[in-house]
């Protein structure tokens, strides 16, 4: 009885050693890889000045030479970039913005290659040059501006309220004592609404679908989270509408490799053109179900 126990203890210790060494190893790996990568760039820069300029200033030239635009987009985000499991197509507001960019640069909106990115992978992929730009529900922040350049705001994201059509709640100010506001457990939205509407009762659910079901069942007067999610719900059931605008500021921008002012300008020009021509409003309405504010 004792012997097998001792054996198993030894085995567990051995397994733990392996796990720890493995963790240590993987921790070192990325540093080594980045180190290697940076030496590589300097090496090529030294070797060939022409190559250096094209890497630094010429995303636009690179796209034209390649004949297609490579855009990093989300594959799992409703309304913005979602892969349709049956057709395999990726569709959404972000996707259409990327297509419009391809049309402006290359004259053909089909000349765009979509690459799936997540919030974690998108900046490294951009910096490595695997993608030309990021159109992936990316909030412009000061911290991120250290690493990438941003276009002008193309979507004003932020926390908002969803209520039943005709509700007497029309904004934050109506969230008085006794009003039940629904949200999701542990979300930033829950924290924000407690600060902004301290008198209201905040009820937190397991997930957004549960919270929306509860709102429909009349278990609360308003549902609060990011407007991008609420817009999806409003699209799903038009009896529920967003009110009061956004009360947190998380503007989405298109991210571009740092230092490529020419490309940033191209993207900004396009956004302006789209807004002026009404194409932006059309796209917005197509995906969000409502006109932009």
């Amino acid at each position: 009885m004792k012997k097998p126990l001792r054996w198993s203890v030894g085995f567990i210790l051995l397994a733990m050693c392996l796990v720890f060494t493995a963790c240590g190893g993987s921790k070192n790996e990325p540093t080594a890889a980045t180190g290697g990568g940076s030496t590589d760039t300097t090496a090529s820069g030294n070797k060939d000045d022409g190559g250096d300029t094209s890497a630094k200033g010429g995303t636009l030239e690179a796209i034209k030479a390649r004949g297609k635009l490579i855009a990093g987009v989300k594959y799992d985000t409703k309304l913005f970039g979602l892969k349709d499991p049956t057709s395999g197509n990726v569709e959404g507001f972000d996707i259409d913005i990327a297509k419009a960019l391809a049309k402006k640069i290359l004259g053909d909106e089909t000349k765009v290659e979509l690459k799936e990115v997540t919030s974690k992978t998108r900046i490294p992929l951009l910096q490595n040059g695997d993608i030309d730009l990021i159109v992936a529900t990316m909030t412009i922040t000061e911290e991120r501006k250290q690493q990438v350049d941003f276009s002008d705001v193309y979507f004003k994201a932020g926390q908002s309220l969803l209520v039943k059509k005709g509700s007497n709640i029309q904004g934050l100010a109506d969230l008085k004592k006794g009003v039940k506001v629904l949200t999701v457990k542990g979300s930033t939205s829950a924290k924000n609404i407690r600060e902004k509407a301290p008198d209201a009762t905040v009820l937190e659910f397991e997930n957004y679908q549960d919270a929306f079901t509860a709102l429909k069942a009349g278990q609360g007067e308003a549902l609060t989270t990011d407007n991008a999610i609420l817009l999806g719900m409003q699209k799903q059931d038009p009896n529920y509408v967003l009110v009061g605008g956004t009360f947190t500021d998380e503007p989405y921008g298109i991210a571009i490799k740092k230092g490529d002012a020419e490309f940033v300008k191209t993207v900004n020009d396009l956004l302006k053109e789209m807004k002026d021509s009404g194409e932006y409003d059309k796209l917005y309405e197509q995906w969000m179900g409502v006109k932009p504010e």
């Binding site: 457990k185 542990g186 937190e204 549960d210 509860a214 278990q219």
Partner: protein, 221 residues
């Protein structure tokens, strides 16, 4: 970090733990009383000689006992409002618990009563006692020693099942545990503390059940 046990969580979030604990106790006590009363009624219907009552009792037990508790609670929380009767999370959770546990209690009582040999009833009726008198003086006193531990077990289950309130924003211990966890990111600590809170309620019940079992067994000898 997530593996670290940090007892300060208990003190820093004491007010929320306490509020949750109180709501868990309230829901448990209310459902305990409610389910016992309802369970007795259903059990009486189940064994009653009146056929219609019998059918109602059987349908209740077999229907409620064989669906998930979550479904019963969702019926009160999400279903009733569409019929024009909105109940808050705490109320619908407690009602769901009551209705659900009552079906098990009814079965425990029925099994206990039917374990008393029919000869007892027949003899009592032959001496001129009425049906009610037979029940009260002959059958129930004998059934109770089988019934009580079984009901005790159901009460233990009830206290544990009260965590269902967390899903319908019932403001119970488990609901606040989830919130505290998402504030602290110390799941091991938070849920261990919560386990202790539940044990404070269930262990005494468990000991009571053991005590009853031992006492009734020795009384038989």
């Amino acid at each position: 970090m997530p593996g670290k046990f940090d007892i300060h969580v208990l003190f820093n979030h004491w007010d929320r733990f306490a509020e949750g604990f109180i709501h868990t106790i309230e829901a448990s006590v209310l459902a305990l009383i409610g389910s016992f009363v309802l369970g007795v009624i259903i059990a009486v219907m189940r064994i009653s000689p009146v056929r219609a009552l019998n059918v109602i009792g059987t349908v209740y037990v077999e229907f409620i006992r064989n669906i998930p508790l979550l479904l019963v609670v969702f019926f009160f929380f999400l279903g009733l409002p569409s019929l024009g009767l909105p109940l808050d999370g705490f109320t619908s959770g407690t009602l769901g618990l009551t209705v659900y546990t009552a079906s098990f209690i009814a079965e425990a009582i029925r099994a206990g009563i039917q374990s008393v040999p029919t000869g007892q009833t027949e003899a009592a009726r032959a001496t001129g006692l009425s049906y009610i008198q037979t029940m009260l003086h002959i059958v129930l006193p004998q059934a109770i020693k089988i019934v009580l531990p079984a009901i005790g077990n159901q009460f233990i289950n009830l206290v544990k099942n009260s965590s269902i309130l967390a899903v319908v924003t019932g403001l119970d211990l488990m609901y606040y545990a989830d919130l505290i966890n998402s504030d602290t990111f110390l799941p091991l600590t938070v849920y261990t503390i919560v386990a202790v809170f539940y044990l404070v309620l269930t262990l005494p019940l468990s000991f009571a059940v053991h005590y009853m079992e031992r006492r009734f067994r020795s009384a038989d000898r």
